[in-house]
């Protein structure tokens, strides 16, 4: 486990990134925190779970979150491409349900480059696209030291321009920033 500071976070701008794992929504909330503009969160209409704005509260103001409910993934990708190309939203979060092929992934990257905006795909495990700039795996960890903690293990498992690594982090809701935790026992 590396003790180096987080290298690829905050996410590289004007690119599309991917995150998988059980703590992927928390990763997206951390990525959205502190951005100046609104956040567009795309989630297909038929998915049963709902995003809870009160749960987002420690990370960002829920009033700045726009929720879009496309009927299927084709619509979702079209909306994400439109929003990335437009550049008026700070972050586009797209929850995908089937693997992206190379063309779809590449189109998202081109749109992000054209609009200078950042995209983040929440993917199920092993559904990554080759075109992604970075791919992360976010797992929640039990924190024996703190109550109400958001301790997570973030692994970067793909990085197009840098090295991979893993960090234990938690979100400090008071200071409103991400804190690195040195791994215990080392």
């Amino acid at each position: 486990m590396s003790h180096t500071p987080l290298t690829a976070f905050p996410l590289r701008p004007a690119r599309v990134h991917e995150v998988c794992g059980p703590a992927a929504p928390a990763f997206a909330a951390c990525a959205a925190a502190g951005r100046p503009g609104p956040v567009l969160w795309l989630r297909e209409a038929w998915l049963p779970e709902t995003l809870n704005p009160l749960g987002l509260l420690p990370f960002l103001d829920p009033a700045g979150v726009l929720l879009a409910r496309p009927a299927n993934q084709i619509d979702g990708l079209a909306v994400a491409e439109e929003a990335l190309k437009d550049g008026s939203v700070a972050l586009v979060v797209l929850e995908i349900t089937r693997p992206l092929d190379l063309r779809e992934g590449r189109r998202l990257q081109l749109a992000a480059g054209a609009g200078r905006s950042t995209g983040l795909c929440l993917i199920p495990e092993r559904m990554g696209s080759t075109a992604a700039e970075t791919r992360w795996r976010a797992m929640p960890l039990f924190d024996p030291a703190r109550e109400d903690s958001t301790l997570m293990r973030w692994e970067i498992i793909k990085n197009k321009s840098g090295t991979i690594g893993a960090w234990n982090v938690y979100w400090d809701a008071q200071a409103h920033r991400l804190d690195l935790v040195p791994p215990a026992g080392k």
Binding site: P22, A23, P25, A26, A29, G37, P38, A45, P48, E49, T50, L51, N52, P53, L54, G55, L56, L57, P58, F59, D61, P62, A63, G64, V65, L66, L67, A68, R69, P70, A71, D75, A78, V79, E82, A83, D86, S88, V89, M139, P140, L141, F142, D143, P144, E147, D148, S149, T150, W171
Partner: protein, 490 residues
Amino acid sequence: MFTGTHRRIVSIWFPRLASDRVLRARPVDGPFALSQRQGTAKTILCLNAAAERAGLHRGMRMADARSFCPDLVSAPARPDLDARFLASLRRWTERYCPWVGLEGADGLVLDVTGATHLWGGAGPMLADMRARFAQARIEVCLGLAATRGAAWALAHFGGTEEDLLTLPVAALRLAPDAVTGLQRLGLRRIGDLAASPRAPLARRFGPDLLTRLDQALGHSPEPVTPETEPPHFATRMTLPDPIGLESDVMAGLTRLLVALCAKLAAHHAGARRLVLTLRRVDQASQQVELRLAAPMRDPARIAPLFARGLTEVDAGFGIDQLRLEATQVEPLAPAQIGPAQSTGPDRLADLITRIGTRIGLDNILRFLPADSHIPERAFLIAPAAFSTAQGAFHAPRPRPLRLFAPEPIAAPGPALVAATPPRHFRWRAMPLTTARATGPERITPEWWLSDDGWRHGLRDYWRIETAQGRRLWLFFTPQNPGWFVQGEFA
């Protein structure tokens, strides 16, 4: 009151408005009547001159009328269409003067003071009106006088302004029983009434009679209220040759938008929904609808938003008419523009519109706070285009990032009926071990709202941090013992 200039009022009465309206569209040579249902019987509402000559009259039963006149042509009455017809006649009559009001359900009143000289005097003006209504096959009776009441009397009972006093008392717009009462007293003409002492008349018939008399003779004022037309936000363009290229349609649309937006700006309004109707040379027409996320009237911003809708249009053999209408309009005050202008909200509204053309404007949502302790009701989800972000969210205790429908957990033995969280349990086929439990937080159902999800009664919520890492939001229902997972924390 008016001094200096003599007031001139024209009253127009359409004695056969309803039947003229139908006969204009479908002429009938013989007798014709419009029927209306009164109680269980059908009676005549309006009829043409030929039917009147055959002995029919208004209010007659249709069955009787048919036996009098077997070749009677009839149609059902449409009072709503009659009212629209009268409104369009009123708009047309504004060619004579700008001050035109409605007089009952079958007449118009025009204040032509100061406008008659444009027609070479009052006589030629009335002659022009008669000629034009005759050409339109609408029967009309005109009255010109110094007061509204006198003009009405002359329109309905004929004559000139000088012999107003010789007209029957019914010309004063009185209720039928008042007319009967006056005739019983021997007061048959307006002149008789004007010469009688006023106090006994007021005692006998109420103040209305004398008011009407004074209004007709000009002793008390009576205004003419001009109707205002609501502004109509539509423009159209007819082309000499059909067009088919997308860029050509876009160029035509841009011209229409400039005209429409100028009109919107003049009325301090912004379009919320626009409909572009493209008529093809084969008379088929196609519509492109655009719902905007915010009211706007900037042609340069609206035109690109139509781009997606236009790609789906089939031009066929070509399009020769474009019509653009703002079907939904909202007030939009002029905004201060300056060098340091921020375009953030505008760009976002444009983006919402563009996304809305793809997935529907109702599918782009925002969170609004709500006043409830029930987790599912502590926030509202509303369409972003029709709501503004307001109020502050408030969570006294940590809340999960994701909520889902309660899922029962599996645990060995009696652990599921105890009020303390189970040590080991299975959720979504994962074996989990409780490492830290925070709680309970008791939430009682809102009894004033019926909710099937809360029929198990009150809930004790626990935040369970498992040794495996997942942080879950469990609740226990003491009234119906059982453990459920409802959310997952960040």
